[in-house]
């Protein structure tokens, strides 16, 4: 029931008195309104802009935030108003919904921000009024397509545990993933071209022998063409069977368009093999050869433009249908008119109405072959009207098809552009993530610094702690607690020291990893590569410290579980960092649970750090850290951006 109509309920109830004299049975008791309070104005303060409305207005929709008691959570006691820290522009539409009962979607508003506001205020978008619903749905669809393109880009990541079948399927679908696939792609493309050219050249009359008339090449060099055809069909068959084997759902694959094209391309050959003996059906056999030309459609796997064209035609099916229908109507009308106009003239080519169809079609499409021309004046007049109207009728549905094609084409272009920019985008993501992990390591250093000095200099500690905001310090404290929580699982050479794991930078980690000689160990977290900040200080310090209790031969054995948990810690860090960044940008959803091979090569980005010569400070926590060579002390790296 619409909101405004609720205001009329008292009227409808009052009008029910009209039924009373007619009714035979006693009426039920009316519900009484307890604590009926007077209508009051309430103030809604949305980011500073004050909206005022009657309380009853908001009560019209009790299942939304403003209509229910949920708004009490936002009540500000001092100012006696409800404060919402949201966008006031979108709130206008929300409040208008309560007032008028119709939800409107403003065109200039971003669709996702609008959706978020609606979700916040508990309003279902489906009740958007008819005036704005089309626009809303269109924008939403566009947005979804855009996001879907982003998702698809991430699909290219290779899972390590793919079966052979899955690998093959992936190679078929995305040729740029491996060189094998690329080779296969080009080879099949080449053979399709060869096959098509063979078909064409077969019919060209080549060199006449002195005794015979001109024969097409196909009949002259039968064996050669047959061998060529056989080779192509062999390749196509093998390809089709391989695709069939690799397809995740064979039934669905067999129903897909491309597979049907494949089958149609190779079937005539096999049928021809079977049927060459029978003379009667050789005519049909010749017809079958026509189907060989369908091999050219196999190119659509290789060309994206062809796919777009096909998709456009499919999506414009109704416009094309309308075009066909209107053309048919016009053809019949004009053919009839021309026939009767030309009936009188002698030796007229317009012998019947179907015979006039040809003239009409040729004229309407402005071809004008000239094999049939009207001779009477009436015929000429109607003929000219026919050609003019032909131009109009054909020109009308074409813009619709064109705009559809343009939309799909631009979408594809956008997807390609995004793929190209993906690298730069990932780089930007890495920098921002590095920044935050840097901050943590940096503050940890300072923190450790402070812990050592806390009983000495108070102001210094305060000064240092002021450089980080409250949020950051709390975050760092959290990560610190996490470090403390993780305990090494194995006994270590120094049992009197409690050991735990710590967050380190990637450089240090890589070095130690390489030294441990555990290159084959599958490491986790793609965001490892993002932690490119090197605060060499803490690690060098620690490495320097623990150089003395040089690990014996047993250390490498212990390193394995340590590195594993290391990765987990680092991964934890990265997961923590990822969440705040990527809540709204789906493209940044790096799936951290997806293990990726550690790229031991140096990452593209390193940030500048300058290590400070560290005083030999004993740290309260011991580390069972991996020894590292003294090579990366006092290292200065320059940003390679």
């Amino acid at each position: 029931m619409a909101a405004g109509v609720a205001a009329w309920l008292p009227f409808a109830r009052a009008a029910a008195i009209g039924w009373m004299p007619v009714a035979n049975l006693p009426m039920p008791v009316a519900p009484t309104e307890k604590n009926k309070r007077q209508d009051e104005l309430i103030i809604l303060n949305v980011s500073g802009r004050r909206f005022q409305t009657w309380r009853n207005t908001l009560d019209r929709y009790p299942d939304t935030l403003l209509g229910s008691s949920e708004k009490e959570f936002f009540f500000n006691e001092e100012t006696k108003e409800y404060f919402f820290d949201r966008d006031p522009d979108v709130f206008r539409s929300v409040l208008n919904f309560y007032r008028t009962g119709k939800l409107h979607y403003p065109r200039y508003e971003c669709i996702s921000s609008y959706d978020e506001e609606l979700a916040f205020f508990g309003i279902v978008p489906e009740i958007i009024g008819d005036c704005c619903y089309e626009e809303y749905k269109d924008r939403k669809r566009e947005n979804a397509e855009r996001l879907m393109d982003d998702q698809e880009d991430n699909k290219d990541a290779k899972l390590p545990n793919m079966t052979f079948r899955e690998t093959m399927w992936r190679a078929f679908e995305n040729p740029h993933t491996s060189t094998m696939a690329l080779v296969f792609y080009y080879v099949t493309g080449f053979f399709i071209a060869v096959s098509v050219i063979t078909n064409v050249v077969e019919t060209v009359p080549c060199g006449s022998s002195p005794n015979m008339k001109e024969v097409p090449c196909g009949e002259r060099y039968t064996v050669a063409f047959f061998c060529m055809d056989t080779a192509c069909v062999m390749i196509f068959t093998v390809e089709y069977l391989m695709r069939l084997f690799a397809a995740p759902s064979r039934y669905r694959f067999m129903r897909s368009v491309m597979s049907i094209i494949d089958v149609v391309a190779i079937l005539p050959y096999y049928i021809g093999l079977v049927m060459t003996d029978n003379e009667d059906v050789s005519g049909a056999f010749v017809t079958l050869r026509v189907f060989r030309v369908f091999r050219i459609f196999k190119f659509s796997r290789h060309s994206q433009g062809l796919r777009i064209l096909g998709y456009t035609l499919k999506s414009c099916a109704s416009e094309l249908g309308f075009l066909l229908f209107s053309l048919t109507m016009a053809i019949i009308i004009f053919a009839t008119v021309m026939f009767y106009a030309e009936k009188g003239s002698s030796s007229s080519k317009f012998t019947s109405i179907p015979a006039s169809f040809w003239y009409t079609i040729v004229t309407m499409t402005t071809l004008g072959y000239g094999d049939m021309v009207p001779k009477t004046i009436a015929g000429k007049i109607f003929g000219s009207i026919c050609s003019l109207s032909g131009v109009l009728v054909i020109a009308l549905p074409v813009p619709v098809i064109v705009s559809n094609f343009s939309r799909i084409y631009h979408q594809n272009q956008r997807a390609d552009k995004r793929r190209a920019q993906k690298k730069a985008r990932l780089a930007r993501i890495r920098i921002s993530k590095t920044g935050s992990s840097n901050a943590f390591l940096h503050s940890k250093r300072n923190g450790l610094f402070n812990e050592a000095l806390e009983f000495t200099v108070r102001p210094e500690e305060q000064r240092l702690s002021k450089s980080t905001s409250l949020l950051e310090s709390q975050h760092h404290h959290l990560l610190h607690c996490l470090e403390k929580t993780t305990v090494s699982a194995h006994a270590l050479p120094e049992p009197n020291q409690s050991t735990n794991h710590e967050f380190v930078d990637e450089q240090y980690y890589q070095q130690s990893y390489l030294e441990a000689g555990l290159q084959s160990y599958p490491s986790r977290s793609p965001s490892l590569s993002s932690q490119d900040g090197v605060t060499g200080t803490c690690c060098t310090r620690r490495s320097k410290k623990h150089h003395t209790p040089l690990p014996n031969a047993s250390a490498p054995a212990h390193m394995q579980p340590l590195t594993h948990t290391h990765q987990q810690c680092l991964q934890e860090l990265s997961t923590i960092h990822i969440q705040p960044l990527s809540t709204s940008r789906s493209s940044l959803n790096m799936r951290v649970d997806e293990p990726a091979p550690l790229n031991c090569q140096s990452s593209q980005i390193t940030t500048a750090i300058i290590s400070i010569p560290t005083p030999p400070v004993t740290t309260p926590e011991g580390d069972a850290h991996l020894p590292a060579g003294p090579t990366h002390q006092n290292v200065v790296k320059v940003s390679a951006l």
């Binding site: 007619v22 009426m27 009188g344 009477t376």
Partner: protein, 233 residues
């Protein structure tokens, strides 16, 4: 000889063309074909009325509502009908929303006529508020009077069986199809018979206002139900 052929053909063609155009013009003149279709909307624009009700004090004096109640009523009224008047279509729409299962348009039509006391085809705020005042705050006499006015479709002072049957059918239409027990064709008719038996004292086939009021005042159920909606506003 060729000239002769061309002449005849030319004349034929000209004749055909002239005939076709003349017939089109004739049809246009007769108004059967219209080439431009914007003539209808111009009329509608002018007839959109803006009605402003009388002042609050006057309405307060004429009805039994307090100032605040009138304010609330007017706000709801104006919200749904920004132009200030309700025409029958809007009225039917609004009323139908309360009875989604059935067809409330017939009853809404009768109700509209009952509210539209000056019979000008639209219910202004004054009409609305007067009607409500009677229904919610009026005496029993006034309410019964109002109900009689509702049933008396042609406002001649008598309720005939046909009028009552119309009203009854309209009420049953509002129920819709999905009822238990299933509504039969003769249910409204039977109901009307019962009503007339009760109301028509002198059995002359019509119910007058006095018979109606008398009978209702003697019926306990009806009396009790008249007080049902008193606290609506």
């Amino acid at each position: 000889m060729l000239n002769a052929i061309w002449e005849t053909e030319g004349l034929q063609t000209v004749g055909i063309v002239v005939l076709v155009f003349a017939s089109i013009k004739l049809l246009h003149l007769l108004g059967l074909i219209s080439f431009s279709e914007d003539s209808v909307e111009d009329e509608l624009e002018l007839s959109a009325v803006r009605h402003r009700p009388e002042g609050l004090e006057q309405l307060e004096a004429q009805t039994r509502f307090s100032r605040k109640e009138l304010q609330i009523l007017y706000r709801g009224f104006k919200n749904e009908c920004p132009s200030g008047v309700v025409n029958e279509e809007t009225f039917k729409d609004i009323y139908s929303q309360f009875f989604p299962q059935g067809d409330a348009s017939t009853y809404a039509h009768f109700l509209f006529n009952a509210f539209d006391t000056d019979h000008n085809g639209s219910v202004s705020f004054e009409d609305f508020v007067m009607g409500l005042s009677i229904l919610l705050r009026g005496t029993i006499q006034e309410k019964l009077n109002w109900a009689f006015n509702l049933y008396d479709i042609n406002k001649d002072g008598y309720i005939t069986k046909e009028e009552m049957l119309d009203i009854m059918k309209a009420i049953y239409d509002m129920m819709g199809k999905c009822t238990y027990p299933v509504l039969k064709e003769e249910t409204p008719r039977q109901h009307v018979e019962v009503f007339f038996q009760k109301m028509d004292k002198n059995k002359d086939g019509v119910v007058t206002i006095d018979e109606f009021i008398d009978c209702c005042q003697n019926d306990e159920n009806i009396m009790r139900s008249m007080h049902l909606f008193e606290n609506v506003l």
